[in-house]
Amino acid sequence: MPKNLFQKVWDDHTVRQLANGQTQLLIGTHLIHEVTSPQAFGMLRDLGLKVAFPHRTFATVDHIVPTDQFIEPYADPLAQAMMDELRKNCAQFGITFFDRATGKQGIVHIVGPEQGITQPGTTIACGDSHTSTHGAFGAIAFGIGTSQVRDVLATQTMALGELKVRRIEVNGKLPPGVYAKDVILHIIRMLGVNGGTGFAYEYAGSTFDGFSMEERMTVCNMSIEGGARVGYVNPDETTFAYLKGRPYAPKAANWDTAVSHWKSFASDPGAPYDDVVKINAADIAPSVTWGINPGQGISISENIPSPETATSADDKAGIIEALAYMKLPAGAPIKGTKINVAFLGSCTNGRLSDFQEVAKYIKGRKVAPGIKAIAVPGSQIVALQCEKLGLDKILSEAGFEWRAAGCSMCLAMNPDKLIGDQLCASSSNRNFKGRQGSTTGRTILMSPVMVAAAAVMGQIADAREVFSVTQN
């Protein structure tokens, strides 16, 4: 019987059925960071348990690291305490830690793929909702809570109910100036922020076939913003080419065996799905959010919704609440909205290709006066790659501060925060109230090139016009 990738990986990793009907699922790869792991290690100690498979957990530090301070102790003693705790836990339990001194530190969802730890046909868990990113490689990757981090540390498994699978096919060529970020914003707007509850999303179609791994990661990353805990793309030659030669990828004689094994995980022709959605790439436009969840998005040429256009009472209340928070006028064009801050980075769009694409257009241009613009590479390796290509210079000359690797202003657990009700054009993934560190701060999500356009104009702008984009 034909199976989809989710079913194959699930079956391969099923240990047994539990009394409550859930499955004890083997988690092959466990990633941890400083925010959600210390409490789990605490629980482990309280129960007198050990880490069952220490070589299958990998750690990095990302959320709290300052991006402009390199010397410890950090100015924020709480941040330093979290750093120390992670270091201590990794040392005590024999876990590999990509600390800053290794040169491999970065946002956990960038480090895993970069090191070749993220592989097709595997299960991955991390105490972080954007773990779905790793699904870009044909892995089943779950964001989990701290108690489950404890479970995975103690047993390398967790208790889970099986998910349904929705195939989302995007076909055709994206119009110029339209990026992977726009694809996922489009999907979330279309299916809703909780449309994916209970589902794994399988992204497919010719658009995805043509995507690079980094583009696939951008889409899978935001699956959770559409309510889907898992999102994946079937592995193909693009996947294998990306992995070849990476530190943790299979070597020499093992490579060919691994590739043929990986291929076998791809969904079979005729595989069953619980739902199928088809989208035309040509229908997708550069997108921006206007509200306080990632589903409240529009294309750059549309107007901000007004409560009168609401489709239901709920929708209406949602629009009213969002507009009040965002301080945006109902029915007006979103284009031309003044911004204060431009943020390039995050696990959604903090990779080499993101900075390359921005540099291509921003070279020779200047960030508008009065705009704070920061560019934060997702990992130390991304930073180095960019610096080798001189992208940091191009960005700095344009007026972006070039920072060190971390989550930074994506959720502002480090010193990079909005002030007051500043409005930020951001390449990150969440526009919740207060997300970027100020309780009244405002976020508009968009692709990195759109962030660059907003930075140059000092207002939300159509990157296709600002940069005369005619082809991708």
Partner: protein, 200 residues
Amino acid sequence: MALAKITSVFGRAVNVPGNDIDTDRIIPARFMKCVTFDGLGEFLFYDVRKQLDGTEKSHPLNEPRFKGATILLSGANFGCGSSREHAPQAIAKYGFKAVIAENFAEIFFGNSTTLGMPCVTASREDIAKISAFTEADPQGEVAIDLVKLEVRFGGQTVKIAQRESARNALVNGRWDAIGELIDGLPAVKITAGKLPYLAA
């Protein structure tokens, strides 16, 4: 590990209305700089409960008449956003024992169940009825019955629902899977041995 069998939750209720109440709202990220969950309760809903200067805003949880409530009522898609367990932990540490909402974000639901804090769903109309009851009588008792799947309050009864695997785990004292997962370790080693990437 013997866990309590959670078949019912009794207590006073408080309604925090709204849809899509996300985990950043439940516990703002800046309060996640901690290495234990102790003390998270006081930061629950912080930014909607407190002004910048720390004085209180108008919010149901700030009303003296609702102090000591142990059942939280809310709207649709409660707990959306992050996987952070800080959110259900903050709710539990504040003193809540259960949440009734129209529906829940997936990860939040699972995290809460693992803490032994039942999340049950009810229709909007029924939640409004419970809310009206507590408005009229903040001291009135609300009882969530996970066996009969109903909520009883002031002589009224409304239906609730809960995913069967979670309900089963709660009422049978298996809501925290760790004991069972550890029992499975020999089988885990066998499964791991069959997977090439784990054999190395």
